[in-house]
Amino acid sequence: MAELLLRTQEIISRNFMSLEFYFLAGLLYFAINYAIERFGKYVERKVSVPS
């Protein structure tokens, strides 16, 4: 069992492209967090009082 960051470190240990793969991992984390943020905004719109 290995999550995204550990998998990234495994890949880096094979090809030594540390900066590039950490950047890719950062992008993937950003994508997950952006999806959560959009979901939060969607729920906020749903529960807001219409003005």
């Binding site: 069992m1 290995a2 999550e3 995204l4 550990l6 959560i36 943020e37 939060g40 529960v47 807001s48």
Partner: protein
């Protein structure tokens, strides 16, 4: 340009490894957020409307969990629970520890949101004869939800970055230590 194509080549070679890691991160964090949010609402309710002994117990739980590092919680759910006969695998231990951690944070968010609602709202609900359940679901929760959503999103985003503390394949020596400790105790 050559370096970038070499990088893309490496990404393509490692695509399944990356996708497996991404899938695990997403599943652990989403499960932890969902379970932690449900438990957190109960914690928030107990902190706001519970009687004195219940408030004391839940306050101790919240403060203890919030003040404990996630790594310690993961280690505790992986090793300590096994000594009382609850054998969780690495995934379950990770989800359990993160859900407990998330619940203490969500509990405080819910408490803050509920306490920010003016007392007049509850009094008005009582005046028209609503029960506590009706008051909560129809009057308090819709208002509290609006207040707590931005902070809840913040906590959820934090939870996505926490699975790095979960038990991994790099822990085989710990696993055997757990088996030894369980055997020694029993």
């Amino acid at each position: 340009m050559n370096e970038f194509s070499a990088f893309l080549d490496q990404v393509w070679l490692a695509r399944f490894v990356i996708l497996r890691g991404l899938g695990l991160t997403v599943s652990i964090s989403l499960l932890a957020i969902a379970l932690g949010s449900v438990l957190g609402v109960l914690v928030g309710l107990a902190l706001t409307y519970g009687n004195r002994p219940l408030r004391f117990v839940v306050r101790a739980y919240t403060d203890f969990i919030r003040g404990t590092p996630v790594l310690v919680l993961v280690l505790a759910s992986f090793y300590i629970l096994s000594t009382i006969g609850i054998e969780l695998n690495a995934f379950q231990a990770g989800v359990f520890a993160l859900a407990v951690f998330c619940s203490s944070h969500v509990g405080e968010i819910v408490r803050g949101a509920l306490q920010a609602i003016p007392a007049g709202q509850t009094e008005a609900a009582k005046a028209i004869g609503l029960t506590f359940r009706q008051t909560f679901t129809s009057v308090l929760w819709p208002q509290a939800l609006r207040q707590m959503l931005p902070t809840w999103v913040n906590t959820a985003a934090e939870m996505v970055k926490r699975p790095r503390f979960c038990p991994s394949s790099a822990w085989p020596s710990f696993c055997s230590a757990r088996r030894r400790s369980s055997r020694a105790i029993s």
